[in-house]
Symmetry: C2
Subunit: 198 residues, 2 copies
DNA sequence: CCTACCGATCGGTAGG
DNA sequence: CCTACCGATCGGTAGG
């Protein structure tokens, strides 16, 4: 790993933080360069287009997301503990990137949903991957006998993500102190619907 | 109503549409002026700052939202029919401002949640008003005996809005054809929890 | 409502 | 990785 790679890593790290605050569109090359004490063209050389920078920032965030949210959850036992860990880690991720920040993917979703192009395509792929990960984790719980086998894992993933989006909105825009309690309550109701009766 | 007022109305109308597509930050004076075949400074004169334009665009959207979503719902009988009408109208609003577009308030939420200032303050006030409207409509249903009196109307409002946000994400970013079915199913579950047992 | 203009910043290029 | 630069666009002002 040479010096160029270090610089690249530093750029992407800072880029994730900046984009989380100001959006992927607000992530300008000039501003990012100033924050890193690089020249604009020096930074630009690492990418070649703003679009490439945006996509690589999304990928860098996804990598961190897997490390901080997905991997720790998958270490938990299948079924409820694993789903609960996924949910708690997601809340922690959103709060930690959150003073200020929030979740880059949620922030980008509304920003990009009407702007066709490779950046949007990448975000869509990442979000579908995330929903699929939730569905897989639910499915292993079905196999283990923890969850009802007649439920659609993708429905469950959609419903769980709705709870997360509701939390993000209440906590980050409205600064509602009850946001987390409500998220936990909604999660509990979702789980009790999914639990296999015995 | 003089000619100046007509122009103003036309500007705000177009501004709502443009901001829904490109965000409140992407709503530039120059672009809006070009679309309306006005000079930049001619348009600018109606407002005096971009911030004032953004706030008035939010207010104009809120006015339309009340006409298209809230008022028709309130004409329905209290309890379930009224809540169901509110939900259906909201879905229709999001879809109609949606080819392309979506809901300006949802789009602005993630964009502004980290940018303190009067525009954010206005959006927060409008969103709190919307959640309060849901809570009030729920409360009249409690009074009428349709909904459980031991539920917190603001919890209900939060949970209903979570379902809406989940729909927005699935429909607009992921273009998921099952988004609407899932939203209706989640709404049905929410209602069955809220229904007063008899 | 207009033309004409301001300084700042944008993404990107030339050339080293 | 840099300086120096390009044309385009930004929010906003002067003056009418």
């Amino acid at each position: 790993m040479g010096k160029g790679d270090d610089t690249r890593t530093a750029i992407l790290d800072r880029g994730v933080r900046l984009a989380t605050r100001v959006g992927l569109e607000g992530l300008t090359i000039g501003r990012l360069a100033t924050e890193l004490k690089l020249s604009k063209s020096g930074l630009f050389g690492h990418f070649r287009s703003k679009e490439a920078l945006q996509i690589q920032v999304l990928d860098a965030a996804a990598e961190r997301f897997v490390d901080e949210v997905v991997k720790p959850a998958v270490r938990e036992p299948r079924g409820e503990p694993r789903v609960a860990a996924l949910f708690d880690r997601w809340l922690a991720w959103t709060k930690s990137n959150s003073g200020p920040g929030g979740c880059l993917f949620v922030a980008s979703a509304a920003e990009l949903d009407d702007r066709p192009g490779p950046v949007r395509d990448r975000l869509v792929a990442l979000q579908k991957g995330w929903l699929e990960m939730i569905a897989i984790i639910f499915r292993t719980g079905v196999t283990d006998g923890a969850f009802r086998p007649d439920l659609d894992p993708e429905d469950f993933a959609h419903d769980l993500y709705s709870v997360m989006l509701g939390f993000h909105h209440a906590a980050r825009l409205l600064r509602d102190p009850r946001a987390e309690d409500r998220a936990h309550a909604a999660f509990g109701r979702l789980l009790s619907t999914a639990r296999r009766p015995r």
